[in-house]
């Protein structure tokens, strides 16, 4: 206390007796005094109960913005799991339906004699939007693959002499005999078209989708 009745403060930072950060407040005051979760004051100064609902939906304050009610969290979990379950059922139904529908059936591609060894022929199977390529790799061996590269669906081109199928877009290479990727970005083998031979004719009999 000084003569004028006002208390002089010692604001020296290195004072050993100082409390708090500025030397004036008790150390216990380090905590905020009021509930930090309740800081919102609406612009019209009325209590939050009288505010429109959107104000609680889009709060300005971080504590309210980050707050997730246990009930909301459970609701989210249940609905998400429900969506996943429904998705699985949908996939199962799709598979079942596809099996019921059967394959595309037999489609004649060419006569055996039309292709010499090393010759290729393009065709569409099972629909017009599925370009495929047929290759006679040997006297008795034929292979047919979908022409869609498994990387980004560019049209692949067989190089029979090198024993590969090449995708020109990103230099993806597939093995001609098996359709498996050997170089470049593709990671999955090409879809194989199953072939049947009847009376000197070549037929496409189905598509084998492969993932590995």
């Amino acid at each position: 206390m000084n003569g004028d009745g006002r208390e002089r403060l010692d604001i020296r930072i290195d004072d050993a007796d100082r409390q708090g950060l500025t030397g004036t407040a008790p150390a216990a005051l380090d905590r905020p005094l009021r509930d930090v979760e309740q800081v919102t004051i609406a612009p019209d100064w009325r209590p939050m109960d009288e505010q429109p609902a959107w104000r609680t939906d889009f709060p300005i304050d971080w504590p309210q913005d980050q707050y997730v009610e246990r009930r909301d969290f459970m609701k989210f979990m249940v609905l998400t799991s429900l969506a996943f379950t429904a998705g699985q059922l949908w996939i199962a139904a799709e598979n079942w339906w596809r099996r019921q529908r059967g394959g595309a059936g037999l489609v004649r591609l060419a006569a055996l004699d039309d292709l010499t060894v090393g010759a290729t022929r393009t065709f569409a199977y099972p629909s017009e939007q599925d370009p495929c390529v047929l290759v006679r790799t040997g006297e008795q061996s034929f292979v047919a693959y979908s022409q869609k590269c498994t990387h980004l669906s560019c049209a692949v081109l067989p190089r029979v002499a090198e024993g590969i199928i090449r995708c020109p877009c990103h230099e993806g290479l597939f093995d001609l005999a098996s359709g498996r990727p050997v170089a470049g970005p593709p990671r999955r083998p090409l879809s194989r078209v199953l072939l049947e031979f009847r009376a000197g004719q070549i037929y496409a009999a189905g598509v084998e989708e492969r993932t590995a």
Binding site: R6, E7, R8, L9, I11, G20, L21, T22, T24, A25, L29, D30, R31, P32, L33, R34, V36, E37, V39, I41, A42, P43, W45, F58, I60, D61, W62, P63, D65
Partner: protein
């Protein structure tokens, strides 16, 4: 970690000498290097050299956040209105139009609004904001209420502002003459805008009688 509840920001525009130290200190900060978040405004440049530092007042009803269509302006639990969240801000400039104190600024080149956040990296660990540490005349003061009462016995901190029909209370205090505050516990900003300074005209009686430049040909 929040800003300690017992530390407050006090602005005393009377003491501002316009030295720009706060602007320079703010510009050097790493969180927004090269841009000053504090504005040093001239009150009436034609009439006076008086300047006033403008920091974010950290309203308890932040109009900038109210008008933000992207929900980008948030306030932390300690009452500090933060700068716009980078992923959310669409640089529409609504906050710039809405802020009654003229604090936020949109940086068109970066498509973001940036404003004073009371140096949250410093105040949240109990340090003073940059501007308050460098202000030589202590027009910007950061400390406890007891300290400011001791240092400025003639003034009273005020944090209520009236803009037309909008009343705003802020977390940053403006130092006002104590007798004025007892008469009116808020500052009517819109009324003050029209008010002309009284008895401020300086009459130079030396040259009142004759124009000394009358004979000068231009």
């Amino acid at each position: 970690m929040p800003k300690p509840d017992y530390l407050h920001f006090f602005i005393d525009p009377n003491r501002c000498i316009g030295c720009q130290a706060c602007v320079q200190a703010c510009t050097e900060c790493d969180t927004h290097r090269g841009e000053s978040m504090i504005h040093l405004e001239f009150l009436d440049r034609a009439e006076s050299v008086q300047t006033v530092p403008v920091v974010c007042m950290h309203c308890e009803q932040p109009t900038c956040a109210e008008v933000c269509p992207a929900d980008a302006i948030k306030r932390t639990g300690d009452g500090v209105v933060q700068s716009a969240r980078k992923p959310r801000c669409i640089a529409c400039g609504n906050c710039v139009m809405a802020c009654p104190f003229g604090v936020p600024e949109v940086y068109e080149d970066r498509q973001i609004m940036m404003k004073c956040d009371m140096c949250y990296d410093r105040t949240s660990v109990g340090r003073k904001p940059m501007c308050a540490t460098v202000c030589p005349s202590q027009a910007l003061f950061f400390g406890t209420r007891e300290q400011i009462e001791q240092l400025r016995p003639m003034s009273t901190p005020l944090n209520r502002f009236q803009f037309g029909r909008q009343t705003i209370s802020t977390r940053v205090f403006m130092m006002m003459p104590a007798e004025l505050v007892t008469r009116q516990p808020y500052l009517d900003v819109t009324a003050a805008m029209d008010e002309r300074p009284r008895a401020r005209a300086i009459a130079l009686t030396l040259i009142a009688d004759s124009d000394p430049f009358a004979g000068v040909e231009v």
